[in-house]
Symmetry: C2
Subunit: 361 residues, 2 copies
């Protein structure tokens, strides 16, 4: 089986952590009947430096022709002052929109071995396993009209538009319900239906979809502000959370931080079945430690495991990699970001090697 | 000195907790040279039941003529299905907008005596004292166009508009900078300038205001998603947070929950100097325990203390009440919501009495 993978290492620690996945790919190509052909391109700040734009049309074309895309990390202070239209984030938004990657899957998982890294009490986060399904191609991120208008007399007006349609809500809702069926069977849908009509529509459409096709799944509605509270108070009450682009941005970051180990969390952005998915670690480009060889490659390796499972039809292989990551953690290997007394501090490269060694065993 | 106070007990536990403030007012009228004349009216669900609308024009008129307004709690499942235009929340939004209460002050404070109530580790939240200044009369809560449109063929479209002007941003920014000067001198301004033009304008205007008049205060900008993370990771890095209506709704609820004691947190909504402010506890109407006499009145009592300080020119008296609350906590008195082993469980009325006893001492 031959599959095509586009690698977009991006900025900061991106190239170092993607390099560890390259080693995994070589191992897979040598030892399994899956063959992954890779292509690589600049993205984000690196692409601004090389080509003047964060995402070239050529890159987008290569992405469309791939079975999946793996991204490292994007952005950094170096590009804080480039023009708004070509900032690194614009590249990210463009690739999401152009590939119609409407469902962002963001797991928040607490690894037993890392439970003390959480700022929450261990009894609150033990065994935590939440999946946030965030709508990724609609809402206030893309709505028109938008912009800044000069009203004269020193007065300006900034506008964005929050907009959702029935079909946009239903397709992401379906993803959430389908996944919940394979998990604990519960979906919490979050909006501010009490103050926003777009949230009211969201609630109505999710309710209707549930009644039509997913009444075996438990559905609960929760205002987004309450969800922000409940995530902090008793996160284990959640299984799958489905929410819009903006609330999803905030709630998924909060949920990620509950785990205390941002360096461990993968994510996926999926489009229609059969179209290429985009996978990336949740953490940022960490320019402060870039180039030192100490970054944690595990979130990227786990993103690659998700990629195998969701986009390359290789569920077993993905699970093997996830198990290998658990093994290296159980062995006490830690990169600097997750280091605690009594464990063994390793470099990015050593961590990647250890995962491969665990895979072989 | 005579002052006029409008009491709006509202729904659920609202009337019970406002009753405890009535006792404080009697004590003040009898023992200090401040005389507080009170008026009282229905609001929210109670007003829907009595008059068919959550906020009558007469109530609004009484509010305008007062020096301050103290609210109990609003809403409950009983009114979940009333028409959108007359739901309890509509009353809340209307009073905020009509009185131009543009600055919502929401403190998140961890009381030493209650530190174990937090789901976060004590070393993370010890001594926590954050103030969130949330813009309250603009943004996506009020922007036009808004509504749900029928597109035909079963397809609908829900729209809200996020909009901010220079003056709206500056006036709430000023409140934040002024307060920071009296605190630790640091303001963190939160938006999503990386994806929203309204956030870009927010960042630019706050930056300009800071440079013009508040360069003695430390200003930091943080994306709202990152703020949601940092609140959970290391909340003590914050002093004053200033943000828009929607982000403020979410971040202030998250911050409140960090403390673990929602039943303790007051809030204020302020307009232009000299206009009446509205004060209310952060917690909800708790219909499940309403009428049982076990609700915690301390958040309402502390809201009344804020009211004395900010709207009735009685800073010393407000501080005395705050000190009395600390005293009863130190004495080990606890309502059910904050009860722990070794403390004495008291009713709503007993807690109110204890605060008055501490005030006398
Ligand atoms: C970088 C930024 C544009 C992006 C977003 O807001 O979506 C990021 O926060 C994310 O969650 O992927
Ligand atoms: C009840 C609701 C309208 C309100 C809001 O969203 O502003 C509440 O959550 C608050 O924070 O005061």
């Amino acid at each position: 089986m031959n599959k095509k993978l586009l690698l977009l290492p991006g900025d900061g620690i991106g190239p170092e952590i993607i390099a560890e996945v390259r080693k995994l790919i070589s191992w897979i190509n040598a030892h399994t009947d899956l063959t992954i052909d890779t292509e690589e391109d600049f993205f984000g700040g690196a692409a601004i430096d090389a080509y003047g734009v964060p995402l070239r049309d050529e890159t987008l074309e290569a992405a469309r022709k791939s079975d999946a895309i793996l991204m490292g990390a994007v952005g950094g202070p170096k590009w804080d002052n480039v023009d708004y239209s070509i900032r690194p984030e614009a590249g990210l938004l463009k690739i999401r929109k152009q590939l119609d990657l409407f469902a962002n899957l963001r797991p928040a998982i607490v690894f037993d071995a890392l439970i003390d890294a959480s700022s929450l009490k261990p009894e609150i986060v033990k065994g935590l396993d939440i999946l946030i399904v965030r709508e990724l191609t609609g809402g206030v991120y893309f709505g028109e009209p938008r912009g800044i208008e000069d009203l004269g007399g020193g007065e300006r007006r900034g506008v964005n538009t929050q907009v959702y349609t029935t079909s946009e809500i239903r397709r992401v809702g379906k993803v959430a319900f389908e996944i919940a069926r394979k998990r604990k069977g519960k979906v919490t849908s979050c909006e501010k239906a009490n103050v926003m009509e777009s949230g009211k529509l969201w609630r109505e459409e999710i309710t209707r979809l549930h009644a039509e096709s997913y009444s075996d799944v438990t559905l609960e509605h929760m205002y987004a502000d309450n969800a922000a509270m409940q995530l902090c108070r008793r996160p284990s009450q959640f299984d799958v959370i489905v929410t819009d682009n903006l609330f999803g941005d905030i709630l998924s970051d909060e949920a990620a931080m509950l785990t205390g180990s941002l360096g461990m969390l993968p994510s996926a952005a999926l489009g229609a079945p059969g179209s290429p998915g985009l996978y990336e670690p949740v953490h940022g480009s960490a320019p402060d430690i870039a180039g030192q060889g100490i970054a944690n490659p595990l979130a990227t390796i786990l993103s690659f495991a998700m990629l195998l499972k969701y986009s390359l039809d290789s569920v077993a292989l993905g699970e093997q990699i996830e198990a290998a990551v658990q093994t290296v953690l159980a062995e006490g290997l830690r990169t600097a970001d997750i280091m605690v007394e009594g464990c063994k501090k390793v470099t990015t490269v050593e961590m990647g090697d250890a995962v491969i060694a665990a895979l072989k065993a």
